[in-house]
């Protein structure tokens, strides 16, 4: 499942485009139960990633992921910056240069643990963990690309009826129910983009 330079470049571009193109939708979701900046935040972060794309693709996959994570931490801000940034950084730290599927399962598990530690949060609280955790379970269970992508979309949708107990939506209490969590939506977009690219380029 190793990625050559072209594949790395395609992957990063796909990730970035997926959130940049949906920035307005993400902002609308965040206006409903947050403070209306999630789309702007993710867009700013991934635009900064795109700005260094050639240099990023020159790196090995783990180094590239760490660099993306650091860029996101330093550019996104808000809650999503440290969390999404940490995910990429830890993923990079945990992955070998030429990862097998088992390495990807282990590394995503570690990255999710780091997100939990950073956010002092768990799945079930209406946050991006409610996408990351079930998607990682499908990955671990050997699900194919289509199954992973489908779970990402569905998991994000499953946050709609949830009561938020973390993140800005938690201030709303019961009124957080009935709205999709913006961070879950952006996570599902990123996963969807990654899956499509990896399926073609790395035979996921």
């Amino acid at each position: 499942m190793s990625l050559n330079r072209t594949a790395r470049e395609k992957l990063v571009r796909a990730l970035a485009v997926s959130v940049i193109e949906h920035a307005d939708e993400l902002t609308s979701l965040d206006q409903a139960i947050g403070d209306g900046d999630h789309g702007l935040n993710m867009k700013r972060g991934f635009e900064a990633v795109l700005a260094t794309l050639p240099a990023l693709a020159d790196k090995s996959t783990p180094e590239m992921l760490k660099a993306i994570g650091m860029t996101l931490v330093m550019k996104v801000g808000g809650a999503s910056g440290p969390l999404v940034g940490t995910f990429f950084m830890e993923l990079g730290k945990a992955l070998p240069e030429e990862p097998a599927r088992a390495d990807l399962v282990a590394a995503t598990g570690k990255a999710i643990d780091a997100v939990k530690a950073r956010g002092r949060s768990e799945a079930g609280q209406k946050t991006l963990l409610d996408v990351l955790v079930p998607v990682q379970a499908i990955l671990a269970a050997g699900g194919d690309a289509a199954a992973i992508a489908a779970e990402a979309t569905e998991a994000a949708e499953r946050t709609t009826p949830m009561l938020a107990t973390r993140g800005r939506a938690s201030f709303l209490g019961e009124r957080s129910i009935g709205h999709m969590d913006p961070g879950s939506r952006s996570a599902s977009l990123l996963i969807g983009a990654a899956v499509v690219t990896l399926e073609f380029e790395a035979d996921l």
Binding site: T27, Q31, I33, G34, D35, G36, D37, L40, N41, R44, V73, M74, K75, V76, G77, G78, A79, S80, G81, P82, L83, R118, G119, T165, R166, G167, R168, S170, F171, L172, G173, R175
Partner: protein, 329 residues
């Protein structure tokens, strides 16, 4: 959206440039506009750094100067600043006595300040403010937001830092002031994030949002518009219930506008709030009235009550010279 701006994506940058130009006597803008710092540092004083999303002006940059902060890190509008901002600010203003972060309790702010502390490579302590009683607190949730009470913490800890108080004592003091301080707010009209271009929420002509946050987050409940007295009853009532000050306590009353509410209304709220405090045998001996912790162009106000003792009074009264608060200097 009707705003005095040029490019919705450059509001923060252009506003910071105007701010820095207007206050060159007391402060400097850091490289890349990552922070605002005091022009002159006091050697051996603990460096106080705060920051948070922009759109709350004059918080925090307006409180940089003698007797308050050494630096402030402005994030994008309603977005916590990034760790590099706090790291570079600390680098610029730490004179060796350590750095104290003053952080409003939002997960984004906490995570970014924590990452900054981890990466800064110097002694860092943090005070986290969480004065907003609108949010029901529980160990399972994010907890209360830090709102207008933050400026009281910044003022009192800032005054103590000028006297050479060491970092551990400043942290305890900050935690203690925060514990004695409670706020709650109401929104009459929503705010609009410039880059979003549309209001963060909508309110009918006869509605208000009770317990709103300073990002225009929906609050406790949406209720019919009520009189200033009824609003003050609910805000001060919730504060006193939670704060449970002793009868005869002395307090500071901060009536804070959210950005689009004029002074004539804020002073009217002072009148309403003070009457309720008087009725509860609480003596208001310090007042601050104005738009000090805002939510862009949101209409509405918050009330903050902070219990005073002799030390708190002398720290509040101590000289301060910042863009937004100035006395005795």
């Amino acid at each position: 959206m009707k705003k005095l701006i040029n490019d919705a994506n450059a509001v923060l940058e252009e506003s910071l440039d105007g701010f820095a130009a207007a206050h060159t006597d007391i402060l400097l803008l850091g490289a890349g506009r990552k922070f605002v710092r005091r022009r002159t540092l006091k050697q051996g004083k603990v460096a106080l750094i705060s920051g948070g999303g922009s759109g709350h002006e004059p918080l925090h940059a307006g409180y940089v100067g003698l007797g308050m902060l050494d630096a402030a890190c402005p994030g994008q509008v309603f977005t916590s600043p990034t760790p590099d901002q706090m790291i570079e600010a600390a680098e610029a203003v730490d004179t060796g006595a350590g750095v104290l972060f003053i952080v409003k309790n939002y997960e984004g702010d906490l995570m970014n300040f924590t990452m900054a502390a981890e990466m800064a490579g110097r002694e860092v302590a943090s005070v986290v403010t969480n004065d907003d009683v609108a949010v029901e607190s529980s160990t399972y949730t994010t907890g209360r937001r830090g709102v207008a009470g933050t400026l009281i913490v910044e003022k009192m800890v800032g005054a103590a830092a000028e006297t050479g108080m060491p970092i551990a004592a400043l942290k305890s003091l900050g935690d203690e002031v925060n514990r004695r301080t409670r706020s709650m707010g109401v929104a009459l009209l929503p705010c609009t994030v410039p880059a979003a271009g549309r209001p963060n929420f909508t309110l009918a002509d006869n509605e208000m949002e009770m317990g709103v946050g300073i990002h225009g987050e929906p609050g406790r409940r949406r209720v019919p518009l009520a009189s200033a007295d009824a609003i003050a009853e609910e805000l001060v009532g919730a504060i006193l219930k939670d704060l449970a000050p002793k009868q005869g306590s002395e307090v500071l009353l901060l009536v804070n506008g959210f950005g689009a509410t004029p002074m004539i209304e804020l002073y009217l709220m002072v009148n309403s709030a003070k009457r309720i405090l008087d009725g509860a045998a609480i003596t208001t001996t310090r007042f601050l009235t104005g738009s000090y912790v805002t939510a862009l162009d949101m209409a509405g106000a918050s009330v903050t009550v902070s219990v005073l003792d002799a030390q708190a009074k002398s720290l509040w009264d101590a000289p301060v010279h910042t863009a937004a608060l100035r006395w005795g200097a």
